[in-house]
Symmetry: D2
Subunit: 255 residues, 4 copies
């Protein structure tokens, strides 16, 4: 998978919030095999408040995708992104412009505006968006080369609330990397996203809040790989009427 | 996982029908890592008609679970099981008593009857059953030590049509190995079965009829392992209202 | 709709348990327009304990379908049915043989046995059964002329857990009255049952435990009628790809 | 229900496209009891091309809600709305700005822009929108007093693809009339929309393409009323574990 020209092996992107401890986060990063983690500037702190956390992150040896979590306007997100570039030394930015504090959905208007400004400033934007095709097109026009549609509200663990809409995105944007971001709660959710042809999955709470985050990190990685392989190997059609799976007719084929 | 006293590593059981060729079947057996394959006596033939197939099966080095596919009465199934014991040299038998040619559902009356007779004769019965708790109890009383509830009609690939019923089975039979048999179409279906706490998954058509059976065999194995690990690691609760997954509040935990 | 030779106008059958008061039950019976109510002998009491309730029931002027609620064996159900015939003066009996106290599912073995005994004694049996086709056939062989498959566990309000299984029943038993019994929680559940081609719906908790049972009784009656009409009028096919509903092409048709 | 100050009795709004004949449309309008029908200016024709259709519409004696079906830009929609006001003599306009020809989804950017322009010109706008809360807010700011979120793509008959999103809209906009527009295929879909607390349903294909549109019109009207009453009467909670609906404990209540 290529993301802004970089070859990425793992199709699991991992958030770094809400873990019981930094050590457990470090373990989950390792078991999951992720190559990209998202980090909130707000937590990290531009003033170096979270020095210990920062040190830990660097030692993990994975690529950092700073995010603008907690920003509610385009302006705020742009400023946060600019600070993040300073702090983390990367043009990559996961762009979140939150529209509602309840469901943490994107504000698609602010999102497109901020994406345009940041792209013009040389950022490589990973926009957290809805499953709206028109919004997707606007983001591409604004300069984005990756789209990150939600599966369900952040932290809800509801899985894919509207698989058909994701399927439509895949059909419309065959050559754009699509990463499901938010809503994944279980390995089967992640697996299903990949079966729909998504390129990757970004998740956080499902691992951080699992009983055993390290084991869950590994489970998610496997589920994503399973879904990817299933998609690649062409899954059977679901059939309304049952047919025997061990017919006598099948004999001739073998002998 | 223990099945009739035998320790089994892989939680994927694979059917052997409907593959494009015996070679592709052999590949799928390997990539899936399965340790148990089901074989139909009817295909194999008591008269040695399918000698080549039989030879292939033996070379795979996996445990054979003969089945009574195609039997529509208890009597027919019992006779088929007895012949299978002769041919395959094992007490294991996957017991199918088909009740309807349309949906290939079990005839639960014939099933319990045949299970009782076969158990009395020293067979170790793996009954293909519905998700009915009372039927499950009768099968245990009849001597079965494993239950194999369906997910959906054989060959339909519909996945789990009634996950709540499987959940109820898990709750009622905490110490009985439960293997979802029939209906699995996609890796995410298999993953979901394991997340419900099932012990294993038996599938056939989903691999045999995939575009690339060998790759799909591997995908299924991964999905099953992912679901198992997810179950073991305790998945987060789904939440109706979204909550932020990168709260500033989380900071204190890390520093 | 004909049930054992009697012409019934309303396709809603109503249970009589769990209402806040007998008066509210009486109101719900009226608003729902039901012509058949089920009554538990156990509540009513063979000894006339519930005289007030009995009096109320008689004044409602609807047909009574006594039930064997609370019976866990065929024998118990048969005895209860015999007592109910004495008390209520009808050959009709809603036969419940409960298999599990958790999910209140039918014990299909005891059910078929009791159905045979009661049919032989001249009862007209309405069996509360699962959505198992083979069990359905056995019940018809035992003398039943109506089948009452569950939608979900009694009192759960989960709606139709396995619509495909009900669809299969409709296809297999085109000429047998099918009444969904148990699990209905909302008007849309009842509507959906009728859209699948069911002949009627029996419900209780959804009305009795509604905020306003009388209004809910009316709502259920409308929903059932709506679903019936929808089924009769042939609903459009669901389409995967959207098509415009106001095409300019349509013009020519009108002019 | 009040829509822009007008009291409307029926909660079913009906589209007028795709009927087998104008006579059948007229019948469906009557059986459905609708008080508002949507009409496409494009079909009707500003030049009076569809005179017969126009005459028919007037004779139906229902309120006309002209729509901008087929418009793909804000500008086009505004011009069409202005022409519609001339032709139909009403400030009401159902605003459609189509973003994609495949799924006929709204272009939320063009929609908000057109809604602002039209509201400023004195139109009373009924915007066909997605289930995006932020878009909903922008439309209210633009002057809309009604929102019409989609259930699924126009003409797909898929029902409600994302009920949780509609539920969130209801919670966020407690005092704004919400009308589900597009996607309804069956009476139970319409019923479910009302159970979620929607104020009304607008549909077209489900009636026009039914085997018998007149009967389906009546079925939809009943389903909508059933769902509305169910919502008003407070539906029972769905329960995970089954509970008996005819407990002996209930007795005391009645006597």
């Amino acid at each position: 998978m290529q993301l802004y020209g970089e070859e990425i092996g793992s199709r699991l992107l991992l958030g770094t919030a809400q873990y019981p401890s930094p050590q457990i986060l470090a373990e989950a990063v390792k078991t999951s095999g992720t190559e990209i983690i998202t980090v909130s500037l707000r937590r990290e702190g531009a003033d170096g408040a979270g020095t210990g956390f920062w040190q830990l992150i660097k030692e993990l040896g994975v690529k950092i995708l700073p995010n603008t979590a907690g920003c509610h306007t385009a302006k705020e997100a742009v400023t946060t992104a600019q600070m993040a570039r300073e702090v983390f030394g990367t043009n990559w930015i996961k762009l979140e412009v939150i529209g509602h504090s309840d469901n943490l959905q994107p504000d698609v208007f602010g999102l497109v505006e901020a994406a345009r400004i940041l792209s013009d400033e040389g950022f490589q934007v990973f926009p957290y968006t809805t499953d709206d095709l028109v919004v997707g097109e606007k983001l591409l026009e604004a300069g984005c080369e990756v789209l990150m549609p939600w599966g369900a509200p952040i932290g809800s663990g509801q899985g894919l609330r509207n698989p058909d809409a994701l399927r439509a995105m895949r059909a419309h944007f065959p050559n754009v990397p699509l990463i499901v971001d938010a809503g994944i709660g279980r390995p089967s959710d992640a697996c299903m996203a990949m079966e729909l042809g998504m390129d990757a999955v970004l998740l956080n709470t499902a691992v951080a809040k699992a009983g055993d985050p390290a084991v869950m990190g590994a489970a998610m990685a496997q589920a994503i790989e399973a879904g990817r392989q299933g998609y690649a190997a062409q899954m059977m059609e679901r059939r309304d009427m049952a047919v025997p799976s061990t017919p006598i007719l099948g004999m001739a084929v073998f002998d």
